[in-house]
């Protein structure tokens, strides 16, 4: 039995026979049973306790007392899935246990860690099953910046299958059931992850899964049900009603009309000589009422058990989540099965893990509608503030149907909601077999083979929706405007991705002298990934309502794509220890990749780290300082390219127009031209170099701890397709692009201000700040454009942040006056775009407080991110429609742009001369002032907003029932908790629009531009039950 200094049970301690791989885990009461030869030494360790070694002699019962909470012996999972004592690690790591991950019962494991890791930017981008964005230590790469996810030593595919800017089916991490996770270690730095090679250049997130324990059969149940409500929604102006240019106009899709007077008036289309009536007044919560309450259930049942030689863990998890959008348009259903076994036979151990995940998901279409059909969110934003949105629910009603919806400029939002669909079914299998053989107590070998296979089938359609001739929306309205028909579409996508990963590792541990120890390993890695996808789509449906690729006037457009990559690597690591005080780790890896030029496909990268437990050296352990550890590391990681970027090719001769395309085959002819992207025969690998120093200091018997890290990470030679001048005959060149630097500071503080017998208060606080800089670009390039929405762009300029947001700005005179057009009175656009701010947060802070009183536990975490800018397509549309709060400037009366001048001519030297501007933006032009077509120079100030926010990320109140109660239902432990997620959002006053975390532009660098008419975020509250038997 394992107990702490007070004699209380230490649950789940690990017990290993020294010099072998044989081990068991204690149960939650600290009891364990192990078959060990006499005179064996048992190594006993547990998270939060100092390890202990016990020579059992010939005893059959062993009691071990562990000294509480010494960070010294805390164990972290490092690269290649090797566990190390934290002492030996020369870089910053953060580790979270199962309880921390599942406290607020999220469906995605990383969602629980938002705001809790210094140096990690974690955001959920949308509704059920949507992607989670994780960026460690800033954007270093133009391209994929997501960390490598590693499950039990096997890299996990994190692709976003079937997703695009407008439809998000989530990232690969979503396929893991959080309830199956034992712990997560976050390796932020390059030195930490470099042994993983290629894929780990952005850091790695090491996931250790739950394993069975010897002893009786144990049943564990985790269940939760929660409800979600729509979160922040745009704040609308409440003064002016439907119309345009200051006049009430029946078919207009904006609120540029007269002031609302509350009088009852006719509105909408005229159908059969009749019209609807309603008061001309502002409708509160108009958009909010469109949404309903989402429901999510999340249940996992786990079985585990075994004897001393073999243990198993089996679980089945089920999540059913319907989001806040009415209908099952945002819907996520996941079934997961996991089977894990651990077996030992003398010196041979075999561990296996098999995981299967099945997903059914519906994702809403966000962004901009196309000729095949509309986008719900875009349609909602175009409803004047005096028109009740929920009335339109009856979208087949004669006043609200396609013929007679009030405006020809937009579509009834309920139409795409009920009639259009994007759905995905995916099956995923991943797992590994891990074999270990101990030749001697010093020398062992490990062979690990893993696979990860996903099959995803994505299906989407949009219905035909054409106004009939002569109807209100086909020219019959008072403006004579017509709505183009939605011609409908069907698209099918089948994707397969399979990866195999194998490692063979030889490990050798020895004490060279009494003071000097050596831990060494050497290994080889093989990685292979194969992809195949087939996509087909049609537009112009022939028979409405039939969603099959054959149902079109036109032949389907079909593409298929195959991709293969291989990589082999060899690596070695040595950890030299001196007197358990100083540890020096040296490592090196060499990869050979198929995706690099064949004669130059080798990447070599070394690393080193040093850690020094100063407190041990100075014998401080019993002073106020319980631990002082200094660490430093330097590491390199090399990364290969995507396949097929080396050789030139032909490409189908299709041409993109501003809208639509011109495609082959054409009249029985097809054609291939020279691809517009040039491959690069001298492509180099991407090398990330990182230096890190840090210190960990703990005071007052570990009651207070501080961990500081400073890092300087340089990523050189990113491989991207650089836009090149079309006059070269090409539009893109695959190239190694310059150098990006991320420097930053991370601070983590943990404290236990109160630690009484029945009551404890513990808190952790994290702070991080990252300085991102594009140091240089390949010769001949001025900048790199990463994403664009209308005229707003995310651009990196050398010497500045990679995430600058630029958009048109007015021309100014030398004394700072805005120059306006002498005809329109609107600002004249400056020749160059202006800088609006960086997308990157200035800094991030998080705080987690936990209060425990007997069986009660209250915890809440706060997340604050300051600064940063984003472009908002929601703001753009609301400023266009006059629904936006800020469009009541000057009560919409005529005004002259303040502090502006017009050019009168030029003086004798050819310099322009100016006079004060007297051109009034009148009622008719007022509307134009808020939209880029007429006021490109001035209107981006209303579209680029500050991203700062403060969130109560999660809060939970849990109660562990006394075991006497639990035993009544034959449970060993029983706990219930109520929780909330993403409650309380504070944003700066200038953000009238949305939760700045919402984005439909993916989960990587390009998404930092902002959002384009995305779905709103939601908050959840629920109750969770945990029981084990």
């Amino acid at each position: 039995r394992v107990t702490d200094a007070q004699g209380k049970a230490v649950p789940y301690a690990s017990v290993v026979i020294k010099g072998s791989s044989t081990g068991v885990s204690a149960d939650e009461n600290g009891n364990f049973t192990i078959q060990a030869p006499p005179n064996s030494v048992l190594v006993i360790s547990a998270a939060g306790f100092q390890g202990n070694e016990v020579n059992i002699g010939d005893r059959t019962t062993v009691n071990s007392t562990l000294n509480a909470q010494s960070a010294l012996t805390e164990v972290v999972v490092t690269a290649l899935g090797q566990t190390r004592s934290k002492t030996k690690v020369g870089y910053a790591t953060s580790t979270f246990n199962s309880e921390a991950i599942t406290r607020a019962a999220p469906a995605n494991a990383l969602d629980a860690l938002s705001g809790k890791i210094a140096g990690a930017n974690i955001s959920k981008t949308g509704g059920p099953g949507s992607s989670t964005k994780v960026v460690l230590r800033g954007y270093g790469v133009i391209g994929n910046n997501q960390p490598l996810y590693v499950v039990d030593g096997i890299p996990l595919n994190d692709s976003r299958f079937g997703s695009s800017d407008n439809v998000d089916f989530g990232n690969g991490l979503n396929d893991i059931n959080p309830a199956d996770i034992e712990s997560i270690s976050v390796l932020k730095g390059t030195a930490a992850s470099s042994l993983y090679g290629s894929n780990a250049k952005n850091g790695a997130i090491m996931i250790t899964t739950k394993r069975g324990r010897s002893g009786k059969l144990k049943v564990e149940y985790n269940g939760s049900v929660n409800f979600s409500k729509v979160g922040k929604l745009p704040e609308m102006q409440s003064i002016f009603g439907q119309g345009w240019g200051g006049i009430f106009v029946l078919p207009e899709n904006g609120s540029w009309g007269p002031k609302m007077d509350g009088k009852t008036r006719a509105w909408g289309s005229i159908v059969d000589n009749s019209q609807l009536i309603k008061p001309f007044s502002f409708i509160d919560n108009n958009i909010r009422d469109f949404y309903n309450t989402g429901v999510e259930t999340n249940n996992t049942i786990g079985l585990s058990g075994g004897n001393e030689t073999s243990q198993f863990y089996f679980s089945y998890g089920n999540v059913v989540s319907d989001g806040v959008i009415p209908t099952k348009t945002d819907y996520y259903q996941r079934n997961t099965f996991a089977l894990r076994t651990n077996s030992k036979f003398k010196d041979f151990a075999l561990n296996s893990s098999f995981n299967y995940s099945n997903k059914k998901q519906n994702a809403p279409f966000t962004g901009q509608g196309g000729s095949d059909g509309g986008s719900i969110f875009e349609e909602i934003l175009q409803i004047p503030v005096d028109i009740p949105i929920t009335d339109f629910r009856d979208y087949k009603n004669k006043f609200f149907n396609v013929d007679n919806y009030f405006t020809p400029y937009a579509e009834n939002p309920y139409y795409p909601l009920y009639e259009n669909k994007n759905q995905q079914n995916s099956d995923r299998f991943f797992g590994d077999v891990d074999m270990n053989y101990a030749f001697t107590s010093k020398l062992s070998a490990q062979l690990r083979l893993g696979g990860d296979i996903t099959n995803a089938r994505t299906f989407g359609y949009k219905a035909v929706n054409a106004p009939s001739i002569g109807s209100w929306n086909k020219g019959g309205n008072t403006e004579g405007a017509s709505r183009a028909a939605d011609v409908g579409s069907v698209s099918e996508l089948a994707q397969y991705v399979g990866a195999i990963n194998g490692d063979f590792i030889v490990k050798y541990n020895t004490g060279i002298t009494d003071d000097i120890s050596l831990e060494a390993l050497a290994g080889a890695n093989y990685y292979q990934q194969d992809q195949k996808s087939s996509a087909a789509s049609i537009t112009d449906l022939f028979i409405p309502g039939v969603y099959n690729l054959s149902n079109s006037l036109n032949p389907p457009t079909a593409t298929d794509f195959a991709q293969h990559r291989k990589r082999v690597g060899g690596y070695a690591q040595a950890i030299l220890g001196y007197s358990n005080q100083v540890f020096l780790t040296l490592n090196a890896r060499n990869d050979w990749s198929s995706t690099l030029p064949i004669d130059n496909n080798s990447i070599f990268y070394p690393g080193a780290s040093l850690s020094w437990v100063v407190s041990q050296t100075l014998g401080l352990n019993n002073s106020t300082i319980s631990l002082l550890k200094l660490r430093g590391s330097y590491g390199k990681t090399g990364s290969d390219a995507d396949p097929y970027l080396v050789y030139p090719t032909l490409a189908i001769g299709n041409v993109g127009l501003g809208f639509g395309n011109l495609t082959f085959p054409f009249g029985g002819v097809t054609s291939f031209g020279i691809s517009n992207t040039i491959g690069n025969l001298s492509l180099q690998p991407v090398i990330t170099t990182e230096a890190e120093v840090g210190a960990e200091v703990r005071f007052f018997r570990n009651r207070l701890g501080l961990d500081v890290a400073l890092y300087d990470k340089k990523t050189k030679g990113q491989i991207i397709t650089v836009p090149i001048a079309p006059s070269t005959g090409y539009t893109g060149l695959v190239n190694n692009l310059g150098l990006v630097q991320n420097r930053g500071i991370e601070l983590a503080l943990d404290a236990k201000p109160l630690d009484m017998k029945d009551f404890t208060w513990s808190l952790t606080y994290t702070f991080s700040k990252n300085w991102n800089k594009l140091k240089s670009l390949t010769t001949g390039l001025d900048n790199v454009i990463l994403n664009t929405a209308y005229d707003a762009s995310l651009i990196g300029y050398p010497g500045k942040s990679l995430t600058g947001i630029y958009a048109p700005v007015p021309q100014y005179t030398s004394d700072g006056k805005i120059i306006v057009s002498s005809t329109t009175g609107m600002p004249i656009e400056a020749a160059d775009k202006g800088f609006y701010g960086n997308a990157e947060y200035d800094y991030m802070m998080g705080m987690l407080n936990t209060f425990s009183y007997k069986g009660l536990q209250l915890s809440f975490s706060l997340d604050y991110r300051k600064g940063g800018h984003m472009y908002s397509g929601t703001a753009d549309l609301l400023n266009f429609t006059g629904n936006a709060y800020n469009t009541t400037y000057n009560d919409r009366r005529p005004f002259i742009i303040p502090n502006s001048v017009v050019q009168t001519g030029t003086d004798a030297n050819g310099k322009p001369t100016y006079e004060e501007n007297t051109i009034v933006i009148d009622e008719g032009a007022y509307t134009d002032y808020w939209y880029p077509t007429q006021n490109k120079a001035g209107s981006y100030y209303d579209r680029i907003i500050e991203k700062s926010f403060f969130k109560l990320r999660d809060i939970s109140l849990g109660y562990t029932l006394p075991s006497s109660w639990a035993s009544r239902i034959r449970a060993t432990t029983l706990s219930v908790s109520v929780y909330g997620r993403n409650f309380l959002l504070w944003t700066p006053q200038s953000n009238f629009y949305l939760d700045p975390e919402a984005s439909n532009l993916g989960n990587d660098l390009a998404s930092e531009l902002g959002e384009f008419r995305t779905a709103p975020t939601s908050y959840q509250f629920g109750v969770a039950l945990r029981a084990s038997f």
Partner: protein, 474 residues
């Protein structure tokens, strides 16, 4: 090492598979997507055939002459990367294999595509262009020297022996313009030469004259059929690019409405082509650029009729006749000019399904004038302007206005403040857009260099205002 040699993309053909007939259609698409896509729309508005609707927004920046470097870059990109690069590939390949048939096709299309770009931007990269990584920052050449080189290229191509016998059926269908009719290609190449020379009448009058005289001295034959990309169907992405872009793929299909400049001319002359272009013999028009206007008739302003199967005309038969008429008038004392003018008008009417013979008959509205050279040039140019409304060929109407000054620019705006027509306005004369951001009386003459080029090519010259005429323009 062999294990790792798996990096040849299995999804696309290798460059070695590229032959002239495989690549040529892709190049023609590049040209058609440029002149028939964004450039077509700009040409239609700046040529004052159509104007932006008062109830939508899409093209306000074009009608306000507010185009900056970031606007409408696709035409430039498509013409260079899809058009010119692939023509160059065909030229190189056909030279290698002595396939002079494809050499002539590619040379003529390259000349046409380059000419449009030069006429829009005045200077473009040429001698150092199309070299990929060998030169990522090609220098810009002036328009005149590019013209000279294009003429040289056409001469070279025309001098080579053609061999219709080696054209396979696949080659013929790959010739999306003339289906392997090499005689038409020779005519098109000669007409391209005539067009380039005529463009030079203001800047290089002697050279223009010498060039055209030589064409006739050599007995050159000129185009008598449309050089166009036809075969579009009412299928997404297989239809006319301007229809695809402006109608099918845009949510609002009625942005482009009849411009008073164009319709006033058609109506004043009772021209039946109004019905072809606008669906009604008496279109209701919006005065050019008056999209903020309050004229109550604007609600019902006539939408431009676009058809999915409209061709993209590179050079029309009518245009060829009008050029020949102008050449005869300028350099041969008018010998044969009237007949060519009449042919031009008839061809232009015929394309719209109308018979123009009554119009050119004595006393007809478009009867060839007997007065001064200038009057004749004005008649030819005006008819060419109308003819360019067919086949999304608007851009040529805009260019020719800048070359000849016809149709004339009106001294007054076509509409008074009280929403009535200005009695001083002469139907068909160009006006400055109501919402112009330029100075009074100014019209756009060119495009500014596109951002796609300037941001990646430090050799791009400083921006020139859009009011500055290109090198050959008035």
């Amino acid at each position: 090492k062999k294990q790792l040699d798996i990096n040849q993309n299995p999804n696309v053909p290798a460059v070695a598979n590229g032959t002239p007939s495989v690549v040529f259609p892709a190049a023609v698409f590049g040209t058609a997507a440029g002149v028939g896509g964004e450039f077509g729309i700009i040409g239609a508005i700046w040529g004052q055939y159509v104007t932006q609707s008062a109830f939508s927004n899409q093209y306000k920046t074009i009608d306000a002459y507010q185009l900056g470097t970031a606007d409408y870059n696709r035409g430039y990109r498509n013409m260079f990367a899809n058009g010119l690069k692939n023509y160059q590939f065909v030229l190189d390949k056909s030279k290698e294999t002595q396939n002079w048939n494809f050499y002539l096709m590619a040379a003529t299309m390259k000349a046409y595509t380059t000419q449009v770009l030069v006429d829009l931007y005045d200077q473009i990269p040429y001698t150092e262009a199309l070299q990929g990584t060998a030169n990522l920052t090609p220098k810009f050449d002036d328009g005149y020297s590019i013209y000279q080189d294009l003429l040289k290229l056409l001469d070279t191509a025309l001098a080579k022996p053609l061999n219709p016998g080696i054209l396979t059926p696949a080659d013929k269908s790959a010739d999306l313009v003339f289906k392997g009719n090499l005689d038409n290609w020779t005519r098109f190449a000669n007409s391209m030469k005539m067009k380039l020379f005529l463009r030079m009448i203001n800047a290089k009058p002697q050279e223009a004259q010498a060039g055209i005289e030589k064409l006739y001295a050599d007995g050159a034959k000129f185009l008598n059929t449309d050089a166009a990309l036809t075969g579009f169907t009412n299928v997404k992405d297989k239809d006319n690019p301007m229809y695809e872009q402006n109608i099918r793929s845009l949510n609002t299909p009625d942005n482009l409405r009849a411009s008073y400049t164009f319709t006033s001319f058609l109506i004043a002359n009772n021209d039946p082509r109004a019905k072809y272009f606008f669906g009604t013999p008496a279109p209701t028009a919006i005065h050019q650029g008056d999209y903020t206007g309050t004229n109550s008739s604007y609600k019902t302003a006539t939408v431009l009729v676009q058809r999915p199967d409209d061709p993209v005309v590179f050079m029309s038969a009518a245009e060829s006749y009008f050029m020949q008429a102008e050449s005869r008038e300028r350099y041969f004392g008018g010998d044969g000019a009237k007949a060519l003018y009449d042919q031009g008008v008839l061809a232009a009417f015929a394309e719209t399904g109308n018979d123009g013979s009554a119009f050119i008959a004595p006393g007809g509205a478009y009867e060839y004038p007997s007065g001064s050279l200038e009057e004749k040039i004005m008649a030819i140019s005006t008819q060419k302007w109308v003819a360019c409304a067919y086949g999304v060929h608007y851009l040529e109407g805009f260019f020719e206005k800048n070359r000849t000054g016809y149709p004339k620019t009106s001294a007054v705006y076509s509409e008074l403040d009280n929403n009535t027509v200005n009695p001083a306005y002469v139907p068909g004369e160009f006006v400055t857009s109501k919402n112009s951001v330029l100075g009074p009386g100014q019209l756009p003459k060119r495009l500014v260099f596109p951002l796609l080029e300037t941001q990646a090519n430090p050799n791009a010259p400083a921006l020139v205002p859009i009011t500055t005429p290109v090198w050959w323009a008035l």
